[in-house]
Amino acid sequence: MKTENIALLGTAMTRFADHRDRTLFELATEAGLGTLTDAGIDLRDVGEAYVGSMMAPPMLGVRILKQLGLTGLPVVTIEAASASGLVALREASFAVSSGRCEVALALTYEHAMQRLPGSGGMTPGYETLMASPASFALWASRRMHERGTKPEHLAKLAAKNWNAARENPLAYHRADHVVTPQEVLASPSVASPLTQMMGAPMGGGAAAVLLASPDRVRRRRPGEPLVRVLSSSLVTESWDPEWIALGPAVGPPGMTADAARRAFEAAGVGPEDVDVAYVHDSWINEELEYYEQLGLCAPGEAEKLAEEGTTALGGRIPVNVDGGLVARGHPIGPTGLAQVHEIGLQLRGRAGRRQVEGATTALAQLVGGGSSAIVCLFQRDGRVA
């Protein structure tokens, strides 16, 4: 769906880390106040808030917003597993584009070390008998059979993301050396062919984004390029006789293709226009699948992209240059808004040593267990100073 006349007013995120010494309230407050500071406003200027996480107990969202002020604003809690952050952004976009408010806040958070009383859990049973990495490992198993994918392709992409995170001060994993594919392959197996270093750490963190009309953003950020939210497309599973539509596992990879097609149509841009992309590499073989599902390459060419380094910084289409879920981290709830924070930096030319030169159009994609998929497109107006 097209998100007309929406731009980023402010963004912020905490570091994604183990955070065993910090509370979920502290993390969410840091991100919430951070984005208000970045936007130069306080909560009195915010018309609506969309907050959420995957495992939070009842009432948490409203209680967290109280840390930022008591202004009577409507607060709506969102839960869409790993996709929660981008779904919160989507609802905040519509709150502004529909005219309900001038400024909307999206704030998502999670703390795996600190499951509060009443947090959600899965009932043991047939559907949850299998550990979640297995669902992605089964994709990988079949792809290796059909396409000749090698564990080395997966290791090379994982090493790319580990090394990208070395330039991101807010990343979970910041290796003190160049990570090699051999090191990734030698880490302990989790679900064959996936090894520990091919999967995302959870930990904790929070991220927040403020949205407003372009006029309002121009007034607040004079002389800066405007970062527009062009479109957001959210889908859940469609019937596919080849797919086992069971349980909390993530649905067929084609869901991302459906969401991407709709997002590109609504935005009036195509995959060839994307300068930088952030995708759901909770397990690295997903990134390989999504190159094709998002149209960043033709079907069957993803392995070639991995071999040639096309998606590394400096390549034709850099993907996950903030480290991706594998190395920036994936606390689940805040992951999507961390992608948006990063896109704000990239499109304003402020991404430092991981800057994609001249980046104008960016894509964020996530999938969420259950399952759903979401693709959002962003574009810069004006020049980077």
Binding site: L129, L138, S141, S189, A191, S192, P193, I244
Partner: protein
């Protein structure tokens, strides 16, 4: 001792009087698509007339992975187990464990349905789940 499936509506266990092990499934009366576990509405045509159609569980290995973490506490305890997607003969693709005796899975190999105990209740009741074992006769 008595056996019980890990969830209702998943498995039809043998009764010792000639009834064979089956996977519970249903078939859409309108378009013929078969679902395991049974569904209230046909996912293909949205028809609601569904008939019981238990599956024998012979099939072909579609994809597999060896999971190197323990199963849930109180279940099969050894570290590491295989999970598979299996294309059932005349039925849907289903998910299940591979039996411990499948040493080297390969895509395309023939498998047959079996059960294994994942947990024993204090009452002595055995909680079972289905798995797929190598089909010696048709390998």
């Amino acid at each position: 001792m008595a056996k019980r499936a890990i969830e209702p509506g998943l498995l039809r266990l043998p009764d010792g009087e000639g009834r064979e092990l089956r996977l519970c499934a249903n078939r859409c009366d309108g378009c013929g698509v078969v679902f395991h576990p049974p569904r209230p509405v046909c996912l293909a045509c949205h028809g609601r007339a569904m008939s019981d159609a238990p599956l024998e569980g012979a099939g072909t290995l579609y994809a597999f992975t060896r999971v190197a973490m323990a199963m849930r506490p109180g279940m099969r305890t050894e570290r590491g187990y295989w999970v598979a997607h299996v294309d059932l003969d005349g039925g849907p693709r289903v998910q299940g464990l591979l039996a411990p005796d499948v040493a080297e899975p390969r895509i395309g190999m023939r498998l047959r349905l079996g059960i294994e105990t994942v947990r024993v209740e204090e009452s002595g009741e055995e909680i079972v789940v289905h798995h797929f074992a190598a089909d010696e006769a048709r390998a």
